[in-house]
Symmetry: C2
Subunit: 293 residues, 2 copies
């Protein structure tokens, strides 16, 4: 997905928000905003927003000297999400279709996003999403792919959401690689956040090598690229990963809530819609003969 | 009021919105955003947001060649507001205190603001504001000043809101100068919009000389400055006028809805609060001996 003009004010807003978390020095934040302005000026709109985000967040780390401005916020998000787990487990146990419910929970966790201006209330929003209709619901295809899959590459998004991911990973009960960012960027999951979220018990946590708030294969590690090619099933969580992977040629299942108008438009859904969308799933059968339809 | 860091992403958003109305040429809009970025870089944060807005909207006119991007939107706003008038007149006639109700109506009209990202629904929002508590309610002082006043300078804000202003001006029934912007800027009222809104029947429409989405006295016309000094009562509508006039030394009554967090913070109120706030009203008595308290 390319960068839209609407992303530009959003980049400035993100710079301000992260800058404020990193420093109280208003002049330094003004400098940061000026530098983001310069970056935007020389920006190719053909890049994905996640690629631009990579440069912006590197600049924030450089100018403020703060490596992980969202560190405390991530800790709180993980703790808050963990508090909901007993209730969610009860809901899961009572549900008609455990897999669908677990997918819903993993998508519900996607509201924990500090890259966005929108405010959220975790408990209220999760409750609503558990009952919300899907805008895309490629569940049958997903279920078939899952059945045949031996290995899953699960590309993580936000810290806190990670706690909800654990539910889905447990439910799928397959060998899962949980891919996190290489460095802190917005409130995205890094290795230590995945550990705090309890992912180690249910998956093999790996770094994608990404420094971006998303997944751009050309900047990911060779190990991740290998897994991306070889994994039987790929689950990509959230907007940032969608931005980088939406034009890839292999089968991917995107799970996300469309929180910004640009992503919603690109997906052809409405803002706040929830999405389980598979790409290249028609050809998947021929490519790897994993699905008998 | 000075410019806050939060205003910077908002300037970019405003540029994008006005740019899109003026042209479909995405490259031209990108140029505009780049130029706004440059302006911001060299911006003194001691300027008011309205002063920055003046430069930005001049740039939009220059780059796109479109003098009034909001022309059609303003026409629609005025028409929509006019449709509400019979109902509002009925409410006014039934109200306990006609002046308070007319003030509420004038403030309710202030939601028609295309400088903001927030969406509004005119009928719903007006109905809510008519019953909303005020965060500041200097009504007694206002009433006293009004009683003694022979001339009123009423500084207008948005087109559409202007239709609601007419109700208050009729109700006050004094010699009123209705000051509009000199040139089109966002959806602010200019001369022709004031005429379409029916202000000619109840007031003398004048230009403030302002090219900004607000009132900065140093850039206003000598005639306006003279009136600003001599008028017995000044009513300043909306955020943009507040930005430019909040530090002035004479008595002014601000009527507005605090639609952005920056203005709300500067006023010491919450976002979405409605405000009738007088400044320098304590000393007014001594200055001009117009009020007996």
């Amino acid at each position: 997905m390319k960068t839209y003009l609407d992303c530009i004010p959003c980049f400035m807003q993100q710079t301000l928000r992260a800058g404020r978390l990193a420093t109280k020095d208003e002049e330094k934040i003004k400098q940061l905003l000026d530098q983001t302005g310069d970056l935007i000026k020389h920006l190719s709109m053909e890049k994905t927003p996640a690629e631009v985000g990579e440069v912006i967040y590197a600049k924030i780390r450089e100018v403020t000297g703060i490596n992980d401005p969202y560190k405390e916020i991530k800790k709180r998000s993980i703790a808050e999400a963990k508090e909901m787990i007993p209730e969610l487990k009860t809901i899961l146990d009572k549900s008609e279709n455990r897999l669908i419910t677990a997918i819903r929970m993993a998508i519900a966790g996607n509201i924990i996003d500090f890259g966005m201006s929108k405010k959220f209330n975790l408990t209220e929003d999760v409750t609503r999403i558990l009952a919300q209709d899907f805008a895309y619901f490629d569940f049958k295809a997903f279920e078939k792919h899952l059945k045949k899959a031996e290995t899953i590459l699960y590309i993580a998004d936000n810290a806190g959401e990670s706690v909800f991911d654990r539910i889905l990973i447990e439910e799928m009960s397959k060998k899962t690689y949980y891919a996190v960012r290489e460095v802190p960027v917005i409130n995205d999951v890094i290795f230590e956040d995945a550990i705090s979220s309890g992912l180690e018990d249910v998956s093999e946590i790996i770094s994608s090598g990404s420094h971006a708030p998303g997944t751009i294969l050309s900047t990911c590690s060779p190990e991740f690229n290998h897994l991306f090619k070889e994994a039987d099933l790929i689950i990509s969580k959230g907007q940032g990963n969608y931005e980088g992977l939406s034009d890839e040629k292999r089968s991917i299942f995107f799970m996300l809530k469309a929180k910004c108008p640009v992503i919603a438009c690109d997906l052809g859904v409405k803002e706040n819609d929830i999405v389980l969308k598979g790409i290249n799933i028609k050809n998947y059968k021929n490519q790897k003969d994993h699905v008998k339809t």
